[in-house]
């Protein structure tokens, strides 16, 4: 079943044509990876999906519903989580307040507590930092917080924008393990990465984005063997 679908989507920043008609499909239970070099339009794709910017043309549907004209806060409520590029931690809110923000629309305190505990079970370190300001966390801890916060609304599909950026290899490993765990438990994942090797190691399928266009789409296995991908993104000749 299709969870998220983009059909011929275009996006602009003023006169800059950042997405030139991309089509992407994400099915229930999948990890789909969007790879591409810096400036290819990966973040723009996620921003366009979550309503932070609106497509200039094309259709975006979430669970069969057209969301292309909806505002981000409404899209989030429709079941889409977005962990943005750079993590978007509120620096002057505590870890606890950051998590509470993630559940802003939830009024049931028990539910909030339950989901927070789930976050701590994934990242025990967050529990020790509960009353610390978000801005004082290390990069890895911020990424953990961003993911835990993204889960506070229990989204059906979670989009992650370069979760490995700037992290030490051990932490990258940990974050990717968690993404895999989340997926095993039923969360559909759309994963944006420059680290193509890592991304393809856990993804089922992938799309390669180049200057605003999808140039290849295939299963993760095949992408790893694709000469273009090997040359451009996996550092092989």
């Amino acid at each position: 079943m299709s969870v998220l679908s983009l059909a011929n989507v275009h996006s602009h920043y003023g006169h800059i044509h950042a997405l030139k008609g991309i089509s992407v499909e994400v099915n229930e239970g999948e990890i789909v990876s969007l790879i591409g070099s810096n400036g290819a339009g990966k973040s723009t794709t996620l921003r366009t999906i979550s309503g932070m910017m609106h497509p200039s043309a094309g259709a975006i549907t979430l669970y069969g519903k057209d969301i292309s004209k909806m505002e981000p806060h409404a899209i989030v409520l429709a079941g889409l989580g977005h962990v943005p590029e750079g993590r978007g931690i509120f620096p002057k809110l505590t870890v606890k307040e950051n998590l509470e923000m993630g559940a802003f629309t939830v009024t049931d305190h028990r539910l909030i507590q339950e989901r927070m505990e789930y976050g701590f079970s994934l990242f025990p370190r967050l529990k020790e930092r509960l009353s610390q300001y978000g801005g004082t966390l290390s990069g890895g801890e911020q990424q953990m917080l961003a993911i835990a916060r993204g889960l506070m609304l229990d989204p059906g599909i979670l989009m992650l924008d370069e979760p490995s950026m700037g992290l030490a290899p051990v932490l990258v490993e940990l974050i990717f393990d968690i993404i895999k765990t989340l997926n095993d438990k039923g969360t559909t994942i759309l994963l944006v990465e420059q680290n193509a090797l890592m991304a393809l190691s856990i993804a089922h399928r992938g799309y390669v984005l180049q200057t605003g266009e999808i140039v290849v789409s295939d299963t993760a296995e095949n992408l790893k063997k694709n000469p273009l991908v090997q040359k451009a993104y996996l550092g092989m000749d």
Partner: protein
């Protein structure tokens, strides 16, 4: 009810109260010491002798005798400035934009409150009101001014600022200045058409003009009258209650947390399911409510208002917000109190200290000199930081 009481975070109520007391006492003590030292130093000079000649009183005694009243007046206007300054600072904290129309939001609040009281006066209700009733009517006037100003602030944002949000920072600023002139003229137009009079007078009723006397303090051969007018008490207490309420809203409620989140990172806040536009509207609403109340309180204290009544208080409150650190709630409180005290001290003593060369009409120089000095030497203000942070 019990659960409601339990959920109230007492710390968030006590802390701002403590801050207000500290800021008030602190500025009163510092400024009093300065003028008393100056008075002692100048007592035997031409300045002191001139006063002795004219009024047969030493400069030091003159300074001391007037001190209690100066402090009370300074606090009264200081709390009014603080309430207005919070409107500037809240909006700046969330949008990084200076709402220059805020002075007219204040003026509209003042006019609505005063017009309601004038209407009640004409109907005879004010004169026949019992003491308790006169407080109810005053409260009603203040709340009406708040509601009108709050609604106006929300409308102005919706109509004149929101459509310009994507534009460069200068554009909404110009729009704000335009709205400010527009509202001034609108008040003039409405007042001209309905009452034919631009100057409106706060009706005299209740016991607000009376003074409470706490007795006399004997100091050598001089005595100091200790007392405070009831209206000053009302202004200070009402402003304190509102400032505590605002502090509580921002620091201890879910909406307040959302306001802080939006101030820190607007795009990410929207990804939390927060309706950012609604939070921005609430921010303008809260600023407008405070500004409107400040308007009615200002009219209560100074009695006469005209369509330009917002200009100077608005500008000074803006200076106060910058002084405290624009975007910082505690800073607005500090800046308002300090500025109100400073200008009242200057207005009261500059005349005698300069032998009449620079009288109280020059007191505004202080507010604006401070604004300029702060902008040059400490542009982040006394307290720096912004709304995003817990006050």
């Amino acid at each position: 009810m019990n659960r409601f009481l339990q959920s109230i975070n007492a710390r968030e109520l006590i802390r701002p109260l403590g801050q207000m007391v500290v800021f008030s006492l602190g500025s009163a003590i510092v400024l009093s010491s300065i003028v008393l030292t100056l008075a002692l130093g100048l007592d035997q000079t031409a300045v002191g002798l001139a006063l002795q000649d004219k009024y047969n009183v030493s400069l030091y005694t003159y300074t001391l005798v007037n001190l209690p009243q100066v402090v009370i007046d300074g606090l009264t206007i200081g709390f009014v400035y603080a309430a207005i300054a919070l409107g500037y600072t809240m909006v700046y904290g969330v949008l990084e934009f200076i709402n220059f129309a805020h002075s007219e939001i204040f003026a509209v609040g003042a006019f609505v409150g005063v017009e309601i009281l004038i209407a009640l006066d004409h109907s005879g209700l004010l004169r026949s009101a019992s003491l308790g009733m006169s407080y109810v009517l005053l409260t009603f006037a203040i709340i009406s001014g708040m509601v009108a100003a709050g609604a106006l602030a929300v409308t102005v944002e919706r109509v004149a600022y929101r459509p310009l949000r994507g534009a460069s920072r200068l554009v909404p600023l110009i729009s704000a200045i335009g709205v400010s002139f527009l509202l001034q003229d609108l008040i003039r137009l409405v007042e001209g058409l309905t009452t034919g009079d631009f100057n409106r007078i706060f009706p005299s009723f209740g016991n607000f003009d009376q003074r409470l006397n706490f007795g006399k303090l004997a100091l050598g051969e001089t005595t100091i009258n200790l007392g405070i007018s009831i209206k000053s008490i009302i202004v200070i207490v009402a402003a304190m209650l509102m400032l505590m309420g605002l502090n509580y809203l921002v620091n201890a409620t879910r909406i307040g947390k959302a306001i802080r989140a939006v101030a820190q990172d607007r795009p990410t806040a929207s990804l939390m399911g927060i309706n950012v536009n609604r939070i921005i509207s609430i921010t303008f609403l809260v600023g407008g409510l405070l500004g409107g109340a400040a308007g009615v309180l200002y009219a209560l204290k100074f009695t006469r208002i005209d369509p330009f009544v917002g200009f100077f208080p608005g500008l000074k409150a803006f200076a106060a917000a910058v002084l405290g650190g624009i975007g910082n709630l505690t800073g607005a409180l500090l800046g308002g109190i300090v500025l109100g005290m400073l200008e009242t001290f200057a207005g009261s003593y500059m005349g005698v200290f300069t032998m009449g060369a620079a009288g109280s009409e020059y007191k505004d120089i202080f507010a604006f000199s401070i604004l300029i000095l702060v902008l040059i030497f400490r542009p982040q203000g006394l307290m720096g930081e912004n709304v995003g942070q817990k006050a």
